[in-house]
Symmetry: C2
Subunit: 244 residues, 2 copies
């Protein structure tokens, strides 16, 4: 049992709900580009210029610096790809520690989930782009697995925390919030149920403002904000709360 030194890298799956207005659907009528009006969950990737795996897409990240902890390292490395002030939430996910996960010296990866709110449109370097999570390009090493882990964590946390604050604008209508949940979960949810459940759990606060009514006319939509902008468990299992 040797205990050799290892290298330690940090990888972050940064998610944002985005509109892919100009989207290729391979196989549909000769790869016709469709404009889609619905937000999709997207992940930030950069394309490797050099071997190993030149041309494959990677998560932003890199080796841990000698004098920084993991969170500091994740923020530093994201700053090279996006303005970190636009990252509304960052949390540690699993460690990927398979001895043979990448070629060369053994490298352990600590992974993070990062969220960017809907209206932000960070300026990206030329090697970097958003990709729909449902249609990942050719991914480097185990980075595709990291993206799926991050997406699973995000979807699970949407059900028992207020984590959607990290994807939502400061103020939003229920139809915008529904679009965010549908994109992040990957299936349709009903806006009325969503409002009822989040309302009961105190997750949302009405701002008193309304949005102009859309194309179809009708009443102006009430606007909401998240009551908290840091993570909290919203279903605290009321029966088990400490006596107040």
């Amino acid at each position: 049992m040797l205990h050799s030194s290892t290298r330690h890298e940090v990888l972050t799956a940064v998610f944002q709900v985005r509109h892919f207005a100009d989207r290729v659907y391979p196989g549909r009528a000769g790869d016709v580009r469709h404009a889609t009006g619905t937000g999709e969950l997207a992940v930030l990737l950069w394309q490797r210029a050099l071997d190993p795996q030149a041309g494959a897409w990677s998560l932003p990240g890199g080796l841990l610096g000698e004098d920084e902890d993991l969170t500091t390292s994740a923020r530093r490395q994201l700053a090279e790809k996006v303005d970190v002030r636009e990252v509304s939430h960052l949390e540690q996910l699993s460690v990927f520690s398979d001895p043979y996960r990448i070629p060369g010296p053994r490298t352990i990866a600590s992974t993070f989930l990062g969220l960017v709110p809907l209206p932000a449109d960070p300026k990206l370097p030329p090697d970097t782009a958003w990709h729909p999570v449902s249609e990942l390009p050719d991914m480097a090493f185990d980075h595709g697995t990291v993206v799926q882990h991050a997406r699973t964590r995000l979807a699970a946390k949407l059900s028992y925390t207020n984590l959607a604050f990290g994807l939502a604008p400061a103020e939003f209508s229920m139809s915008t919030l529904r679009e965010i949940y549908c994109a992040a979960l990957g299936y349709q949810v009903d806006a009325t149920n969503l409002q009822r459940v989040l309302g009961r759990r105190g997750v949302l606060t009405p701002t008193g403002n309304t949005a102009p009514s859309g194309r179809t006319g009708g009443r102006p939509a009430a606007l909401y904000r998240f009551t908290d902008s840091t993570l909290r468990v919203t279903d605290e299992f009321a029966a088990l709360r400490p006596p107040s």
Copy 2:
């Protein structure tokens, strides 16, 4: 920004609800030992024989082996302290990565939460003992912080998952289950509420058996088991479930 190699260790906070029949309460009538009838959350620690910090108490763990991943390493290292077949649940917690967390070469710690069910009484090596989490001894390095993180994670997960399966016997009365929840959460919960909430969420299944009535007589207690013995989120936010 140097990217030197680092050492990587694995530390596990192993919890069990235990009865400390022979417990010292300092300050109460000259450190009288009291027998306590109530289970307390306990953590498995070993006492360091050598410097650094000889005499302080440590979590079981050690350096990651060259050819093993983190989970394999955690299980191997626990096997040196307890029979790993008695560990009913093991999950990754945070990575502790402060560059100066321990003296000597930089060492990053991946931490785990381990659970041992109530009836098990693993044979321990002479340097190892269970300690009540509420009264930790002098702890080595940042291991006290790791214990608190693990306890916080356990308490949070009890509210939205079936994780108590890891602490409970195969078959139990509601009063035993209540004792486990009280110990793990650190405050009193009501058995009727607990049964109602867990029942509604499908966490418990009646076994059809009963326990002999206790000292006070009365009806024999119905016995239950956990419906699942792997972790699942029990509050899946029904309104947001995928259409079936």
